[in-house]
Amino acid sequence: MSKLLKKIERVVFNRGNNEAPFKFHGGLELAPNKLGLDKSIQTIPLPNELVIPLLNYHKQLLEPVVSIGDHVQKGQWLAHNLPCPANGTVRCLEEREVMQAQPLLTQCIVIDVIVSSKTAIPSGTSPTNNCNTISGYNDNDNSTNNLWLETLQQHGLTGLGGAAFPTAAKLQTWVNANNANTKKAVNTSQLATLIINAAECEPSIACDEALMQAHADEIVKGIELLKNRVQCERCVIAIEDSKPRAIAKIKLALEKQLTTTKTDTPIELLTIPTRYPSGAESVLIKIVTGQSIPKSKLPIDFGVVCLNVGTAYAVWQSYQGEPLTSRIISLTGPAMPNPCNVRVSFGTSIEHVLKSTGNESALKNYTIRAGGPLTGFPVRNMQLPVSSKTNCISAHTSNASATVAQPCIRCNACVDVCPEYLLPQQLHWHISAANWQQSRAQNLFDCIECGCCDVVCPSNIELSNYFRYAKAQLLELDWQEEQAKIAQIRYENRNKRLERLKAEREKEIAFRKSKLATKPAQGENNIADAIARAKARQRNKKKS
């Protein structure tokens, strides 16, 4: 059925060339509200202290490779694949709150920044050396590729779209595959496609747009590098049509690129309609290729890799020997005195960011949010450090979502806007009844938490919150189940071991018993012999 639907869709709306993208279900046309794009990107001065969480993408704690008091250099590892953003001294290792929707304390390295001109690079692990061995674009044997991926890893490259997935891991399976077929694990007619996501993920966030306006050439070079490394059959950069200036800049850079290099697969520039959440990975893949990715699969299974435009720039920076230690952040919102886009080192506190951009007054008077209006969250602690996930800080006069939620009347507005074909009202129903497994059966995990349903809900229900909560509950349940299974196996193994030991012991006892059983017999013989001998002796004595 789904295949049939897809086929019909393909025939009826046969799109997918670079002129007209595929349509996706649902979504919302929201006002872009981009602020501060007229200003150039400033790099804000380094703060006195940087706080670097020792937590990787998989929420595992990293083992620090530096100790308290060490002098550290920009680019030097603080832990495995975690480059230091600035020169300084390791002040301490302590638990700090990190920027996350649910407050979380975790181990962080706190660094006292030393603002000084060049100091000698200390000995130790310094990843910057490797990239020198990478030669031109077209040198593409496996060993070079592996070296390149290793460099990306060592430079701490993660996606800059919001999820911060490690870039090297994303590219790994693809880079070393020699032909297009091995690039597709799932048998599809899909071309092996590299998609550069230049559709801003949310309204009012402008960091990608600002980046494109400022660094179009570098971005294109980065894409070219990626394209040649991964050997894709198609390479698309998708930009929303609400960004004419960025589109013009990129177009110009692409043309420039074409004059310098010759290639079979030129980078396509795809202008897509401005419709939230076109910046979400699964939705963008749908828009560009027409392929919907079920949650059980990864885009790479369908021969597609999607990277943020910021990541492409970071790849180019990495190629230039620069590790990823800072990112562009949008300072925006109706109550932000001086909205702008600035480059901020990871580990800088929100307070410092706002103070050094002339937005100090926003700290006192208004609500501060990290992230956009739909997927962001309010921040109360102004000392939280910026990370590669932080794309926006906004200020508001009040928290408008404080309206009281009313009962759901199942008006289906949420169904109409859901890009993942979910039935949010049905999920809400199941979750309200704590029917976790039922919500899983209704594909809860396909939810991308875009928040479209929250926007259209006439009853002001915070639907995506329910979904986050239910996901957490389900993961917890799964974990418990797994633990129970492990415990069960452990218990069974223990029982087996005990049985084995018991059997051995019994065997031993049986063996000893049998030994004992034979011994007394011998003993009797001995006695009998002794008696016989004694008697014989007596007889002999008598005889003699």
Binding site: L30, Q406, L423
Partner: protein, 339 residues
Amino acid sequence: MSHVSVNTALVRSESPSVQRVMLQVLVALLPGIVALYWLTGPGVLLNVVFACFFAVILECMVLVVRKKSLHGEGTDLSIVVAASLLALSVPPTLPFMHLLFGVLVLVLLGKHVFGGLGQNPFNPAMVAYAALFISFPQSMTLWFNPTELTSVSLLDTLKFKTEVVGQTLSHYPAWDAITKATPLEHLRTLKLNQETISVELANHTVSQAPWIIVSACFFIGGVYLLWRKVIQWQIPVTVIASFAIVSLVWATFGTNSIPNIGYSLFSGALIFGAFFIATDPVTAASSTAGRIVYGTGIGLLAFIIRYFGGYPDGFAFAVLLMNLCVPTIDYAVLKLSQP
């Protein structure tokens, strides 16, 4: 609960709200109410006012008992809409006591027994209608005879609606002259008497004219709802289309005991129900495909019950039966549409 919150004020200009939706439904009902007033006299207004008044009072009482905020569920007008729909479905001659029973069923059995707004599997107005229809079949199948209407004043109607309580209708032979069965009830009577109904039907199409106007007014209201995007097109279109197609097929190939399409569509509760009853979002299917299945089911069941069942107009029962199927429809659509 996590601390993420969508700042909806940042991205939406006009905030949709349940009150606004309900208000639009009430506005859409106005032409139909006016037409019914013109056709059947002041009884319909009395019904609407009385039903809404008691429904609101009862709703507030229940909310107090259930320790719920009056600001949330009490002011969202949903109960006013449901009570109005019930009041428009029942005859204008219905005694107040019977209507009160209907409102009781609507609020208690239709809505709050299941947990209040949004939790009820069955359309509350139709639950109340069905309960009334089964409980008081005499007063539920009686309407003012439009041709005698000029002689019925507001005072007369009030008298009828209050005094008849406690008495059998047959004790009021005088009222026999100015009341009559609904057109569909009449049709059924004819059919059961095994008389040829084609002549009657021809005459009836003429006397049908006022009913067509009433249906047309409800149709206008329904189009307004579609225009304001309060309802989606799938349900009304499929209800009417499936009913029309089956009627057409039956009238062409079946026996002559089925009236023509125009008569079929504009008599009874079909138009009113297709736009206002079946589209109740709480009890309808969710997805587009689901709504199509749901609407088609209602149209077919309404046809079957009307022409082959035990009741003259089975729209309420068709809706209730399809309400039962909604979870299954939703689930099936979800399973089929996802890879």
